[in-house]
């Protein structure tokens, strides 16, 4: 689902590159945790994989067609994200001006999924994440845990090949975090997607199939 090879990224004036010659792979149905110290470049790596930042060199191939996101232009990267990547963020990032159902529908609209499939998919996912009947509600009326469930539903609704999650439980209390994490892993495996989860939490890392640690010398 994801193959990263010889990846390098640095910032001008930063002295040395953030990382170089980085290689990793995530298979379909596999959940990989990425851990490391603060500032080491975990989020930057995630951003490079998502095409939100441009890598200096190397290749990042995503999905069944194994398109190299590094070589794509901005529009093609956006299209690839819409089709093949789902995101879960620490800060939930739910659009406050759209209802829960509309928030979940956004990737379907961006990925050009036929309109007839929208309602059943949203309905099913809302039930799977424990938010049945929440569709018409506004995000402002939801708790943090509920918001993250909405984000998980949104990340999965278009059946992406890869899920990228940046501290998905970082803003939640331990009990809710456990619930949300199990839900995420369960749904990712159910959809046979690959997932890369950036986390500081040992508990989250232990729940994943594999743990990669980003150090100044590369991935371990």
């Amino acid at each position: 689902m994801l193959t990263v090879a010889d990846l390098a990224k640095g910032y001008p004036g930063a002295g040395r590159p953030l990382f170089c010659d980085l290689a990793l792979a995530v298979a379909a149905g596999e959940v990989v945790a990425l851990v490391g110290e603060s500032g080491i470049g975990k989020s930057t790596l995630l951003n490079c994989i998502a095409g939100l930042e441009t890598a200096d060199s190397g290749s990042i191939r995503i999905g069944r067609q194994a398109l190299d996101i590094v070589r794509l232009d901005e529009t093609a990267r956006a299209a690839l994200r819409a089709r093949s990547i789902g995101f879960v963020f620490q800060a939930f990032h739910v659009l406050p001006t759209l209802t829960v159902a509309q928030n979940i529908a956004v990737p379907l609209l961006l990925g050009s999924v036929p309109g007839g499939e929208h309602a059943p998919r949203i309905q099913t996912l809302l039930e799977r994440v424990g938010l049945a009947g929440f569709g018409p509600r506004w995000p402002a009326s939801l708790s943090g845990g509920e918001l993250q469930r909405v984000a998980i539903a949104r990340a999965l609704v278009h059946r992406p090949a890869l899920i990228l999650a940046d501290e998905p439980t970082g803003n939640l209390d331990p009990r809710t975090a456990t619930e949300v994490l199990s839900l995420l892993l369960e749904r990712v495996r159910e959809q046979h997607a690959g997932a890369l989860i950036v986390t500081h939490s040992q508990h989250v890392a232990q729940c994943c199939d594999r743990v990669l640690t980003l150090t100044p010398d590369g991935l371990e």
Partner: protein, 842 residues
């Protein structure tokens, strides 16, 4: 995608209701003003052209004298009638007569019924058989329905038509059924009119219909070469062009003012959309992360701009239509300009201009949304998601945000030089387009220099020790110049517009006031509204018992110098050749003329329009021939926009002219001022003359002046309101943007009153910057209007007079209004739920 775009537009309207509605209203107002002005002008011109067509008919060409005192000899008419290319030539005598004791003279047109049927069918009379009246050939006259109504007469009534010394006792024989409902005119047989009022052996005009397949241009050119110097042959289209030219500059000027109102609306859309983009930068970044392409992020903001522009423009069209009806009822068809009759014309919207104004409203809204849309497209997604809006994305994203923008001082300086260059350009297609471009550029410079001025002024203040709330306000303004620019932009534009108009109008009014001092030297003025004054009166004034120390007589006429331009006024005055400056306000030196040459003094508009300079010798179409005259000087004339020539009575008589005064300037004998009025009373009532003292004329002139600027005051008020709305909306958005910062301050111990005070102070500081720049721009634009636009559009020059007390009082009032508007923004701080805001990551 379409559905998502629609959701986002709807969400934007729902969450930013006030700002969106205000932007929509601003666009509506700009469109409404422009559309109303267009509808009114269009209706007035259509009315005027319709009236022209009624009287003139539909000829291919018109043969006329170039001098209003001249006429077309019948021999010339007959010679042209024999031309094989001419199908028919309809002779016409067009004159003005008074009816019984009515003061106002009415138009009397003498026609030849047979030729008129072919060329001017609308003038054909209808005899009233029931009243058993005379036929047109027996000397019956026919009145338009409007005139019959006005005079309260019916067919069969006996009336006396008076022109100067000549009287004609006749009968109203019927009406003119095809003449428009507003037109006041009489028609009679040409031979009867000629017999009663002249001219002997001549007519006023010959209206020519050419044989089919005749080339009008070459026929005209061939005939023009053969015609005597005092005659001209003009195409019928020339009259329509001349009518349009009469009010062209005034119309263009009003339209430009309406465009400025629309531009202010565009600034408000800019402010709304920029703050909307800033507020939603994290949301747009999220959509980008989820797969919304950069192009779609740009188009979304453009679409939102259109969603404001389309309903705004549609609303503006409706409002404009209503305004047009209201304005015409209040101010007449020329919006107080004094170009057309004061009757309210029929407002009829047409599709193409309506769509044009709809497009203009949408374009203004789009223009306002473009830069915010561009910024939205350029936002770095990952950074925007974490840190929010960056105003300088290319320079390194959110790390280098608002606080590190470096305003450049060189660019405004270069633009100032370009603006100065544009202001120097001569008129293009006789319009001050260079001046208008310079005004637009001054506004751009003003808005563009806001960050520089903000940083210069408040950067220094920010370093001073101030109380906490004040320190916060000053620092926010100093460190967020883009927000200050956005908030101040509407105010800069609107205050600049208002101040410039106040300066221009004041300069003009002061100049008119001084001018009136010079041109109204006599205590009393008597005039006959176009018909010659009765000889009996003129003779009585020379008798010793007349209570006047001095009488100066003037005869008015007109000359056609260019058939496509309005006529130039000819003033034959009792004026001393050696000392014309005693009566005329010259703008430069008066040149001594050679003794054997006729000297004329031309008005400033004539000097500007025809590029005639003092000392020049030219040929004027006077008394049926071209007379060589010497231009002795240029005098200031604010009453005749299309030019005037003054010639002394002695020169006019020497050329063989008949001096028939129409106006008198009267100096009563000392102590006999009251008696003078009584002495003149029988004449004024008997001959329908108008008597006025100079104070009354001055008062009336200034009231007409004020009326002609009434619409511009309405435009200024609208622009100021839009500017204040812009300030309130942007400040409110800036409070929302800084919700976390303000909430943090609240958590640190700032109470709501302090926060509210800080926001209000911020508003006042931004308004002060806006007003300061607006004032500078206003003075610059006022100077362009006074020195460039007025001379080029209206051919009037005047010195610049800045009414500082009025302008500064306006600035203080606007500042107070801005503080009140900031209160709206400050109220947002009281709505912040501190804990909720701090807990929220967005």
């Amino acid at each position: 995608m379409t559905l998502l775009a629609w959701w986002l537009v709807r969400a934007q309207f729902r969450t930013r209701r006030a700002a969106t509605l205000l932007s929509m209203l601003a666009i509506a107002l700009g469109v409404a003003l422009g559309y109303a002005i267009h509808l009114i002008n269009d209706a007035a011109l259509t009315d005027f052209n319709r009236a022209l067509k009624t009287v003139q008919g539909d000829p291919d060409a018109v043969l006329a004298a170039r001098d209003s005192a001249g006429s077309v000899p019948l021999a010339t008419v007959n010679a042209i009638a024999r031309d094989p290319a001419v199908l028919v030539i309809a002779p016409v005598i067009d004159t003005r007569v008074r009816i019984d004791r009515w003061r106002t003279p009415f138009r009397l047109i003498g026609i030849d019924v047979f030729s008129a049927a072919a060329v001017m069918p609308r003038l054909l009379p209808r005899r009233d058989e029931r009243a058993a009246t005379k036929s047109i050939f027996d000397g019956g006259v026919y009145a338009s329905p409007a005139l019959l109504d006005k005079l309260g007469l019916q067919a069969g009534a006996t009336v006396t038509l008076v022109r100067g010394e000549h009287e004609w006792l006749t009968t109203i024989a019927g009406d003119l059924p095809a003449v428009g409902p507003d037109e006041l005119l009489l028609v009679a047989d040409i031979a009867w009119v000629q017999d009663r009022f002249g001219p002997v052996g001549a007519v006023s005009e010959g209206r020519v219909r050419l044989a089919p397949n005749t080339d009008l241009a070459s026929w005209r050119a061939a005939l023009a070469a053969r015609l005597p110097a005092g005659l001209l042959i003009r195409a019928a289209d020339d009259d329509s062009t001349r009518v349009a030219n009469v009010s062209r500059a005034y119309r263009v000027n009003l339209n430009v003012l309406a465009l400025v109102a629309l531009l202010t609306g565009a600034f408000l859309v800019f402010a709304t959309q920029l703050t909307a983009v800033a507020q939603r930068s994290a949301q747009f970044a999220l959509l980008g992360v989820l797969g919304l392409s950069p192009r779609m992020r740009l188009l979304q903001v453009v679409l939102e701009g259109l969603a404001i522009g389309v309903p705004g423009a549609l609303l503006g069209l409706g409002l404009g239509y209503l305004l047009a009806i209201a304005f015409t009822r209040l101010l007449g068809g020329d919006l107080g300009g004094g170009y057309f009759l004061a009757s309210a014309p029929l407002i009829v919207p047409e599709l193409a201009p309506t769509l044009g104004f709809l497009a203009l409203g949408c374009a203004a809204s789009l223009a306002g949304a473009l830069y915010p849309a561009y910024l939205n497209r350029r936002q770095p997604l990952a950074q925007a998601l974490k840190m929010g809006f960056s105003q300088n994305p290319r320079a390194g994203g959110a790390i280098r945000t608002i606080r590190t923008t470096r305003p450049r001082g060189l660019r405004p300086l270069l633009l100032v030089l370009v603006a100065l260059g544009l202001a120097q350009l001569p008129p293009i297609v006789e319009l001050p387009l260079g001046g208008y471009a310079a005004i637009a550029l001054v506004l751009v410079i003003g808005v563009g220099s806001a960050p520089l001025v903000t940083q210069c002024v408040f950067g220094w203040f920010a370093g001073c020790r101030l109380p906490a709330a004040q320190q916060i306000a000053v620092q926010n303004v100093a460190q967020a110049p883009l927000m200050a620019q956005v908030a101040a932009s509407g105010l800069i534009v609107s205050f600049a517009l208002t101040a410039s108009m106040v300066i221009m109008v004041s300069s003009f009014r002061v100049a008119v006031d001084h001018w009136l001092d010079h041109v109204l030297p006599a205590p009393l003025y008597l005039r006959s509204k176009g018909t010659p004054l009765p000889q009996e009166l003129l003779a009585a004034l020379t008798r010793p018992e007349a209570p006047f120390a001095r009488v100066e007589r003037t005869a008015y006429g007109s000359l056609t110098i260019d058939s496509q331009r309005p006529n130039v006024a000819l003033l034959v005055r009792e004026i001393e050749r050696s000392n014309p400056a005693a009566r005329l306000p010259f703008t430069g030196p008066v040149l001594a003329s050679p003794a054997d040459t006729v000297v004329v003094w031309i008005s400033e508009p004539m000097h500007e329009i025809y590029r005639i300079t003092p000392g020049q010798t030219l040929r004027l179409p006077l008394l049926g021939s071209e007379v060589k005259v010497f231009v002795g000087g240029v005098w200031r004339d604010y009453s005749r926009q299309f030019g005037a020539v003054v010639i002394s009575r002695d020169d006019f008589l020497r050329l063989g002219g008949v001096f028939q005064p129409t106006d008198l300037a009267l100096w009563p004998l000392p102590g006999q001022e009251a008696l003078a009025g009584d002495w003149l009373a029988p004449w004024t009532s008997g001959y329908g003359l108008e008597l006025a003292d100079s104070a009354e004329i001055r008062r009336l002139s200034l009231s007409i002046f004020d009326r002609s600027f009434a619409v511009t005051y309405a435009l200024e008020a609208a622009a100021m309101l839009i500017g204040l709305f812009g300030l309130a909306v942007t400040l409110a958005a800036s409070v929302w943007l800084r919700a976390r910062e303000l909430a943090t301050l609240a958590a640190l111990g700032f109470d709501r009153r302090m926060l509210s005070r800080a926001v209000m102070l911020e508003g006042a500081l931004i308004a002060a910057v806006g007003l300061l720049i607006g004032l500078a721009c206003g003075v610059a634009i006022g100077a362009v209007l006074t020195y460039v636009v007025n001379p080029q559009a209206f051919h009037w020059r005047m010195p610049l007079e800045i009414p500082w007390s009025t302008v500064l009082a306006g600035a203080v009032l606007t500042l107070l209004a801005a503080v009140v508007a900031s209160h709206y923004a400050a109220r947002q701080t009281t709505r912040l739920t501190v804990a909720q805001v701090l807990a929220s990551a967005q």
